[in-house]
Amino acid sequence: MNVKTLFLLLFLPAQTMAQGFAGLGTTADGFATPQPDRALEFPADHGPHPAYRIEWWYLTANMTGPDGTPYGLQWTLFRSALAPRDGEGWDTPQLWMGHAAVTTPEAHHVAERLARGGIGQAGVEPAPFQAWIDDWAMQGPNFDTLTLTASGPDFAYDVDLAATGPLVLHGQDGYSVKSAAGQASYYYSQPLYDLNGTLTLPEGDVAVTGQAWLDREWSSQPLAEDQDGWDWFSLSFDSGDKLMGFVLRGASDFTAGTWITAQGAVTALPDGAFSATPLSWHEVTGREVPVEWQVRLPEQGLNATVRAINPDAWMTTSVPYWEGPVTINGSHTGTGYLEMTGYEE
């Protein structure tokens, strides 16, 4: 069976398969939908929400090696429900998918795992925090102190994470609107973990230090019918400020984001405040992907160029997308992560 088809069948409702990521915009039959007035509760909300169709624990990190080489790292656990219920054993409709990647300036290593819920092969426990699929795990006594492991046929990593600031709730206290029509998700982040650990690469082990950003999001219908993909930025400036911003591409683009100052003050950005324009495109495995962007946030005086460290950071997973570390130059400097979906055709 073709794994891509499998993924599409699993993680996107079958009737909109052909639309790829746009399938996330289907109506949520029987699934719970995010409501603006629900307050997030921790640690319970670090755990899974089986009543919602889709959910993820999504961590990216910018790191440097002993010789100053920049590295990027990704660890993602997706949950997808065929039906809005939980269950024991093979009978559960909860399915899990893990993606892991390490990006160097020259190479991009990718691995993917799929698992059924209910038998212990994959899952998430809120406290003590534990998220796992197969031998991959993100776990620790609490959400602030974690170890992270993953391995693929040609790479592995084992790193420690320590949070240095509070969680950031996006949108309206964690209720993040995804289109003008009101599609929304619950969305919060831990934008600042100090990271140190070891990457195992074909060349050998590399000791790395850096910073990681963890996103948590769940929903049942995050995209509108006409939206076919997104460009998502998580940027850490040398000034200590941070920006999460995304563009949902559709009939008309929808943008949103969060500005986080070095002191930890959080500002939700309304549609249109943040903008990102492709500057140059790169061909990777047969399709053109923008790997250099001009990002602007006039109210913070941001006007900078975001450039991929490795433009070939294509995720050859069931549904392919681009995900990799970037450098920032211009009015602000720094590093960050870029994710681009909906370019698979």
Binding site: N2, T5, L6, L9, L10, Q121, A156
Partner: protein, 794 residues
């Protein structure tokens, strides 16, 4: 112009329908036998491929429990969490249908029923009561399963696929797994298997039950048969085409004299033949389909019984198959006709207008020389040839050489018979018989090949059967075999055995690489069972005594041949333990190597292996009591196999094989008989001038007919006498050359004189039946027609 020419050419067939029938029937029968056998083989192979594609048999390494039992589901999760990319499989039978549970998320790509572009809905497959995928005929055999049946033609025959969770539920084996498929891509880091699950064992890809390899031997038999049958058919076609061209020589000359260009004429004759070949090929393929459809259920039963391979009992029409059937009909015709067309092209326009002597007696000396050369070549290949190809080349040279040698040898024998003839009639009979040989030689060659093929193949199959049953006697020496589910049951069995059985032989084995090939290492207890029953292909003196003293090992023939070992060579059976080979034993139907060591040594080397399978020796009359005692002790009936039942099953399987072989025997002989009939009918008209003087000199028509019948039987008997050694040579080549090259074991050859006698009888019967109609016609020839011979003489 082409239409005018073609109509003239085709008018020949209209005026000589018998020739047309000979040509079409010969070609159709040849194609039918060939494509029937091919269809059976293709169907079986497609089944194996489907099995491999749906089950991953053979493609992937597997992990199984050391004791052959079930793997707990927790172990699977532990392996995944330890970094092992493995996918669980559970198997069972429901009403005889093999039910397989897969886990689609972890199964390797290309496995399982839910495919890209299909209508399959993974959500439905995974959730709710689930779905069961199978061929429609399999679905009808399944009971109502409380899961949605889905028709899927590419699933292996007699197999149903479903989600592992559904399968566990349907088989009532919640939480159990039978085996784990090991994916080719494994992560960089993972914990050793022995840490996570020491009671599991990993086996390399080809060992997962490569059914195709085991069954190759069977299919080789069938293919050899198909090829030989086609060769027989080709002789008929060659005869029919040669005759038709010979008779049409005057017409060709006339056409050219009337202004038909030679090149166009040759081209049109080729087109004409191609059309006839397509027609005959079409009929042949249809007949082949019928043959295959009739035989396939038996073949499927044979394969299931012998090798546990599930093959569809019904045939599906595969384009490749019928196209290749037509192709071989065209190719065969081209082969048979090329000589005739060539000589036609070389024929001078003005040479004598009379047709040449019917079947020009090919230069006897030349033919004998070619035959001798081919036979020498075949001998040389047998002695010094290497590889499967050389084996087949040897077969080819042997058969063609044998066939070509037939007419010169017959001529020799008949001349020798003629000399001491006492009466004038006898003298005329032998001389006339000798004169008939050229005209009948192609048909007789067909008979020779048919008989040789039958002798060869039935010798091979019967030798296989004898060897295999002998092998079963050796391997199934114990009266009862019992399998324990766990150590506690094993203890129970030991206890019962102490009171009720003469001896208890634990069956201990483990797998490892030995001498560069995957092998199973077995333990043998020092017991008379082994000493009395096992036979060696080669052994040092007192092998069992020396084995018991731990002075060496026994190996199977596969290991002996593939690893090029000989007696006394040392093999490493464990780290730092090398022992010399004491004996080599035959081991049939098994692709991997085997090593036998004495039990104490095995226990020293592999203390972790506990015996869960046992052979129990007992008086055959006491087996029932033994079974009862075991049953009382809580051992399920299903865990016991008695030797008699096993042998009965094996023999039943062979009976099926024989049904197939006998059917093919009768068919090929019928084809050869048909060739004789057609040749005799064609000769009949031309023989009148030869017979008329003898009739005028006083032999009645009835006695002439009797002599004709006798002549056919005498010729068939002489042919049979030559076919016997040829067939035995063929059997030897198949058993000792082709089998060894293809499978790594040599089957000993046994002779079956009664079978050969029966075959000879059948051949004589076929010849007599073929000759009886022409003889009957001769006995009814109006005297006026015989007189006409004299009147027409100019």
């Amino acid at each position: 112009m082409s239409r005018v020419i073609l109509s003239a050419l085709l008018s020949h067939w209209r005026r000589n329908p018998l020739q047309l029938i000979t040509l079409l029937a010969g070609l159709a029968l040849a194609t039918a036998l060939w494509s029937g056998v091919q269809a059976i083989n293709a169907e079986a192979r497609a089944s194996y491929d489907a099995a491999a594609a749906t089950l991953g048999d053979g493609q992937y390494a597997q992990i199984t429990a050391r004791d052959g039992g079930a793997i707990p589901q927790e172990t699977y999760v532990a392996l995944r969490r330890g970094g092992w990319a493995v996918s669980p499989v559970i198997e069972g039978r429901i009403d005889g249908v093999r039910l397989i549970g897969l886990e689609p998320l972890t199964a390797p790509g290309g496995l399982g029923p839910v495919r890209a572009g299909g209508e399959a809905d993974l959500g439905a497959f995974l959730s709710g009561s689930g779905q069961v995928f199978a061929r429609s005929d399999t679905l009808t055999r399944l009971p109502d399963l409380a899961a949605e049946p889905v028709t899927a033609p590419d699933v292996a025959p007699n197999t149903a696929l479903t989600d592992i969770g559904v399968a566990q539920r349907l088989l009532d084996r919640e939480g159990q797994i039978d085996r784990l498929i090991v994916l080719p891509d494994q992560p960089l880091t993972r914990r050793p298997l022995s840490d996570i699950a020491p009671d599991l064992i990993r086996s390399a890809p080809q060992e997962g039950g490569d059914v195709a390899r085991l069954t190759d031997s069977f299919h080789l038999n069938l293919t050899a048969f198909g090829l030989l049958s086609f060769a027989v058919g080709l002789f008929i076609v060659q005869g029919a085409i040669g005759l038709a061209f010979e008779q049409r020589r005057p017409m060709v000359r006339t056409l050219r004299a009337l202004g038909v260009p030679l090149r166009r004429l040759i081209l049109l004759m080729a087109v004409e033949l191609a059309l006839l070949a397509l027609l005959a090929g079409g009929i042949g393929v249809a007949l082949g389909y019928l043959i295959a459809a009739a035989l396939l259920p038996d073949v499927a039963a044979t394969l299931r019984g012998l090798y546990g391979a599930d093959v569809a009992g019904q045939l599906s029409l595969r384009p490749v198959w019928w196209l290749s059937g037509l192709g071989i009909a065209l190719g065969g015709t081209a082969l048979a006709a090329s000589g005739a067309l060539w000589s036609l092209a070389r024929m001078p326009l003005l040479s004598g207008a009379q047709p040449r002597a019917l079947m020009m007696a090919r230069s006897g000396v030349g033919q004998a020389t070619i035959a001798a050369l081919l036979l020498v070549l075949s001998g040389a290949l047998a002695l010094w040839g290497d590889g499967l190809l050389a084996g087949f080349a040897m077969l080819g040279a042997l058969l063609i050489g044998g066939a070509l040698a037939l007419p010169p040898l017959l001529g020799l024998v008949l001349r020798w018979a003629e000399t001491p003839a006492r009466s004038a009639t006898a003298e005329w009979f032998w001389a006339d018989t000798r004169q008939q040989v050229p005209g009948l030689s192609l048909a007789l060659m067909a008979l020779l090949l048919a008989m040789a093929a039958n002798v060869g193949v039935s010798t091979m199959v019967s030798s296989f059967r004898l060897t295999f049953t002998g092998f079963l006697d050796q391997r199934l020496a114990s009266e009862l075999y019992v399998r324990a589910a766990d150590a506690a049951q094993a203890d129970m069995i030991r206890e019962v055995a102490r009171d009720h059985a003469d001896a208890l032989l634990p069956l201990l084995s483990t797998e490892r690489q030995v001498a560069g090939m995957p092998a199973k290492v077995y333990a043998a207890r020092d017991h008379a069972t082994y000493r009395d029953n096992w036979q060696f292909l080669d052994a040092v003196p007192n092998p069992w005594d020396r084995l018991a003293r731990g002075e060496g090992v026994l190996i199977n023939e596969q290991m002996f041949r593939r690893s090029d070992l000989s007696l006394g060579d040392e093999v490493t059976i464990a780290l730092g333990t090398g022992l010399p080979v004491l004996g080599i034993y035959g081991d049939y139907g098994n692709p991997i190597g085997q090593v036998i060591v004495t039990e104490p040594l095995f226990r020293d080397l592999h203390p972790e292996v506990t015996a869960l399978r046992f052979g129990l020796r007992s008086d055959p009359g006491q087996v029932a009591a033994l079974r009862d005692a075991l049953k009382e002790a809580g051992i399920p009936q299903a865990a016991m196999t008695d030797q008699a039942a096993l042998k009965r099953m094996s023999l039943a399987v062979f009976e099926r094989t024989f049904t197939v072989t006998t059917a093919l025997n009768v068919l090929t002989l019928a084809v050869a008989g048909f060739a004789i009939l057609m040749s005799l009918l064609t000769l009949a008209a031309m023989r009148l001038p030869q017979l008329a003087p003898v009739w005028a000199l006083g032999l009645t028509r009835r006695s002439l007919a009797r002599l004709d019948l006798l002549r056919a039987v005498v010729l068939a008997a002489l042919t049979a006498a030559l076919a016997l050694p040829l067939g035995l040579a063929l059997a030897w080549a198949l058993l000792a050359v082709v089998n060894v090259e293809a499978f790594g074991w040599r089957l000993p050859m046994y002779l079956f004189p009664l079978d050969y006698l029966r075959l000879t009888g059948l051949a004589l019967l076929a010849a007599a039946l073929a000759a009886s109609w022409p003889a009957w016609r001769l006995s009814r020839t109006p005297p006026a027609q015989l007189l006409g011979v004299f009147r027409n003489e100019r």
